[in-house]
């Protein structure tokens, strides 16, 4: 049994209702290797690892550790078996100290009391042993995400993890922090720990992993060695089609500026600077892409434009109207449409029916109400037209929005926002979680709006989407616009600026 892999998953199937998140997936992790789990968003990577960590129970399949079949029904069991996991969203308690978080669940005691001194000492020991610097007495809410991640890794090691799973660990890290992390991972594997590294970033995977298992729509495509693999070959496995999906665009007819931000700054919910001195301009007939890694101020910037967040500095002009201090209603009325990044949160009222959702902007206009009284029949009639026009399937005007599929929900949002005849369209993550057909629909509509002389600000985490749709691309990093690039620029160029690398180069 000495040669048995550290971990083996056999035929894991996990269903959520009718959705099959994992379909008979096999996965093998050798001792001391870094094994990447690669796939697009929604390919089933996190689900597979949550099965391994006891957060989900598989419907079928088997887990073997060191060749022994095991049942993992809770994280407690997983920890006991030497499995540690660093989640995408850190599982730490913000108001507690690093040491408290680290020992939670396996606290050193003296008598009935928590032995906090021993806890901090253990943190210091581990911290120097693996070269992961943390301050045991700092509160988690006061330390940066990079440090928080170190705490999570230390916690897994503290609990004796021999198999370490990292779920998209670099998503929140700067380039430098990511390099530091890779160094740590190599130290760990040299000491015999095995690492599962979940990612959807090709370059990273080639950089750090020994082998790669690719998942696509819940199924395992292949396991390959990174030796000899290229970004292109991996990308092919990952998406199963040509990577760049080209969108047909006509020649640009640029018009006057429709959306102008001048030195706009804003703070986030905790009062920390989130948007820093952003100046940008969207003209009629162009799609301006805003590229950036998650949580670099994009959400706050959109909210500031839409009047949902008060700017601390700067001016915002939409279609010639000063909307710097306008509320959401005034901003909408100035001719701005908003395809919200999270349609469940901002885009739709899921408990409303489609007719009601389609009227969210205009219920007060004479078309749908008079003297404060609604005209339901008019709302339904209009909804019927729109549902046909935008090809919304699976519902009529009286259907609850929450019962539609994600793609059709997004079509409802787009139908509402585009029929308001806007001049400016803020499209935030407009294709998140949609299938290919719906994505194409959304892309086509956005390009049509551009061709019709509207100004589109496209905010997306999918670089491919930004590159294929935009006429020019701005890169946002830590709330600042750090670069403007043509969409044809290489992925590496974008990557440098998106991870904050560009500033040093410019300074040099």
């Amino acid at each position: 049994m000495a040669d048995a892999p550290a971990l083996e998953l056999r035929g894991i199937t996990k269903r959520f209702g009718t959705l099959v998140a994992n379909n008979a997936v096999d996965f093998e992790l050798r001792r001391g290797e870094i094994h990447a789990l690669l796939g697009e968003n929604g390919a089933g990577k996190s689900t597979l690892m949550n099965v391994l960590y006891g957060l989900h129970q598989p419907d079928e399949g088997q887990i073997l550790l060191d060749g022994q079949p095991v049942t993992i029904d809770s994280p407690r069991r997983a920890i006991g078996l030497g499995i540690g996991m660093v989640h995408q969203h850190f599982m730490l308690v913000p108001v507690m100290t690093v040491a408290e978080n680290l020992v939670l669940g396996a606290e050193p005691r003296s008598g009935p009391l928590l032995d906090y001194k021993t806890a901090t000492r253990r943190v210091r020991e581990l911290s120097s042993e693996y070269g992961l610097a943390v301050d045991p007495d700092a509160k988690v809410e006061d330390i940066g995400v990079g440090t928080q991640q170190r705490v999570e890794i230390l916690r897994a090691l503290f609990r004796g993890a021999k198999v370490l799973v990292l779920d998209e660990p670099t998503a929140v890290l700067t380039a430098q922090e990511a390099q530091d992390l890779f160094k740590v991972l190599r130290t760990l594997t040299a000491a015999g720990t095995s690492v599962v590294f979940i990612s959807h970033k090709l370059n990273e995977v080639l950089d750090i992993a020994d082998r790669v298992t690719v998942l696509r729509r819940g199924e395992k495509v292949d396991t390959v060695s990174t030796e000899g693999a290229t970004e292109r070959s991996l990308a092919g496995l990952m998406v199963g089609r040509d990577v760049l999906l080209r969108v047909e665009k006509t020649e640009q007819k640029l018009g006057e500026p429709l959306l102008e931000l001048e030195g706009v700054s804003a703070v986030d919910d905790r009062g920390l600077p989130a948007v820093n001195d952003v100046t940008l301009r969207v003209r009629a007939g162009e799609i301006v892409g805003l590229a950036g890694v998650d949580a670099n101020g994009q959400s706050e910037l959109i909210e500031t434009i839409m009047g949902l967040r008060a700017p601390t500095a700067g001016t915002i002009t939409a279609a010639g109207v000063d909307v710097t201090h306008a509320g959401p209603r005034e901003t909408l009325n100035a001719g701005v449409s908003h395809i919200a990044e999270d349609r469940h949160r901002r885009g739709l009222v899921l408990e409303f029916d489609l007719a009601e959702n389609l009227c969210l902007r205009e219920y007060k206009t004479p078309a749908f109400s008079s003297r404060g009284f609604l005209s339901p029949s008019k709302m339904v009639a209009r909804a019927r037209t729109l549902l046909k026009e935008f090809d919304v399937r699976g519902g009529d005007p009286e259907t609850r929005a929450g019962s539609l599929s994600g793609g059709n929900q997004q079509k409802v949002v787009i139908a509402r926002e585009l029929t308001a005849d806007p001049k400016v369209i803020i499209a935030a993550q407009p294709t998140r979680g949609l299938d290919v057909g719906a994505i194409e629909f959304v892309h086509r509509r956005l390009v049509e709006e551009r061709d019709a002389g509207k100004g589109v600000l496209l905010v997306s985490l999918e670089l491919e989407e930004i590159r294929s749709l935009s006429d020019r691309v701005l890169v946002i990093y830590e709330g600042r616009i750090v670069a403007e690039l043509p969409p044809e620029s290489s992925e590496e160029d974008f990557g440098v600026y998106m991870t904050g690398g560009g500033r040093d180069e410019r300074a040099a």
Binding site: Y53, L55, P75
Partner: protein
């Protein structure tokens, strides 16, 4: 002189404005009161402009209370004042009125620190009041009475946990339901068992603890002859603090209330933690109820908690979910009640208004005027479905 010190000075001055006008100092000139109170408010305003908003507002409010209270005292007869303001008796009464609130607040702390809102404190307290009396009557032992009260409270807590944790119910609605249910259950059993006669006169009651400290001025009067449950309540605060902030169980309980997923991924059983916390909450609140029935009033009457569970909840919020601050809040509210009991000397009806004081103060507190109360992060959030 930092702004912070001036802020604290304002608070102290505010209370001083009242204090000089009552025995033993009994200053008779309203000018003195007004001067001190105005100084308090001025210092408070300064503190606000200097950035110490919370303390500053606290100082201004203390100044206003001192002004009103102190001025009223200068305008009333010395004899009356001396009958009302007997610090020893007031102190003892404060502790007596505070005791059910302390148990309730500490009980609420367990539940809410673990992430489960406990609006049902009132009901749990009422259960304790009835079952304490009934248990003591049936077993002829106050000790077993308390034990039975705790058990009844814990059972009620378990029902709350069943709905709030396992059934993922809306915790406020289920807590409200428990309050309504407790009125029905205790009322029904009370009528069924005791009928029109009420609980017997020889109901065993929790004894007082006599300390040989009569010779101590003031302290002797306050602490010399308190009910055992008063001491237990004070001990409960200390023990709760140690439990919450100095033991690993407390760490686990708080993690379940701050970030249950984190607790879960650290290998903890959040469901079990929450169950135990809510049951402990019920048991403690029930002790407060038992104090009312077999420690203080020596009888049970229908719906006798009369909102004390809600004041306890208010004290918990007022005290920002911290044992020490919650204790301070219960003592403040208890002092209001103690004073209200003695004020009818001046105005038979006006004293009643003092009963509203805890609620007014809590209302001010939750508006964030004197600092924001930040509840445990996951408070009221059911666990995600797996």
């Amino acid at each position: 002189m930092t702004a912070k010190r001036i802020g604290w000075g304002a608070v102290v001055l505010g209370f001083l404005a009242f204090f000089v006008a009552v025995p033993p100092l009994t200053v008779r000139s309203p000018i003195v009161v007004i001067v001190i109170a105005v100084a308090a408010m001025a210092a408070g305003s300064y503190a606000i402009t200097a950035g110490e908003k919370r303390l500053g507002w606290g100082g201004i409010i203390a100044g206003m209370i001192g002004l009103v209270g102190g001025y009223a005292a200068t305008q009333s007869g010395v004899a009356n004042l001396e009958r009302v303001v007997v610090w020893g008796a007031l102190g003892a009464a404060t502790l007596r009125y505070a005791t059910p609130l302390i148990f309730g607040a500490v009980g609420g702390l367990f539940s809410e620190r673990a992430g489960v809102i406990n609006i049902g404190l009132e009901g749990m307290m009422l259960m304790g009041a009835f079952f304490g009396a009934w248990g003591a009557d049936v077993t002829s032992s106050w000790l077993l009475g308390i034990v039975i009260a705790i058990a009844a409270g814990a059972v009620f807590g378990a029902i709350h946990a069943l709905f709030a944790v396992s059934f993922r119910a809306d915790q406020i609605v289920s807590g409200t339901a428990l309050n309504l249910l407790a009125v029905g259950v205790t009322g029904y059993l009370f009528v069924e068992v005791y009928g029109d006669l009420g609980t017997p006169d020889d109901l065993p009651s929790v004894p007082n603890v006599s300390l040989p400290i009569d010779w101590l001025p003031l302290l002797g009067d306050i602490f010399g002859d308190l009910n055992l449950l008063v001491w237990l309540a004070l001990a409960a605060v200390l023990m709760t603090w140690v439990f919450m902030f100095r033991t690993s169980w407390g760490l686990r309980l708080r993690s379940a209330g701050e970030n249950p997923l984190a607790a879960e991924t650290a290998g903890l059983n959040v469901v079990r933690t929450r169950y135990l916390a809510v049951m402990a909450s019920g048991g403690l609140a029930a002790m407060g109820g038992a104090f009312l029935s077999i420690g203080f009033l020596h009888t049970f009457t229908q719906n006798m908690t009369a909102g004390r569970g809600f004041i306890a909840l208010a004290a918990l919020i007022f005290g920002r979910w911290r044992p020490g601050l919650a204790l301070a809040a219960t003592l403040l509210f208890g002092f209001g009640s103690a004073l209200a009991q003695r004020l009818p000397v001046f105005s038979p009806s006006g004293a009643v208004l003092f009963q509203a004081l805890p609620y007014v103060l809590t209302l001010i507190a939750v508006t964030g005027l004197i600092g924001r109360s930040i509840p445990p992060l996951a408070l009221g959030r059911p666990l995600p479905r797996n």
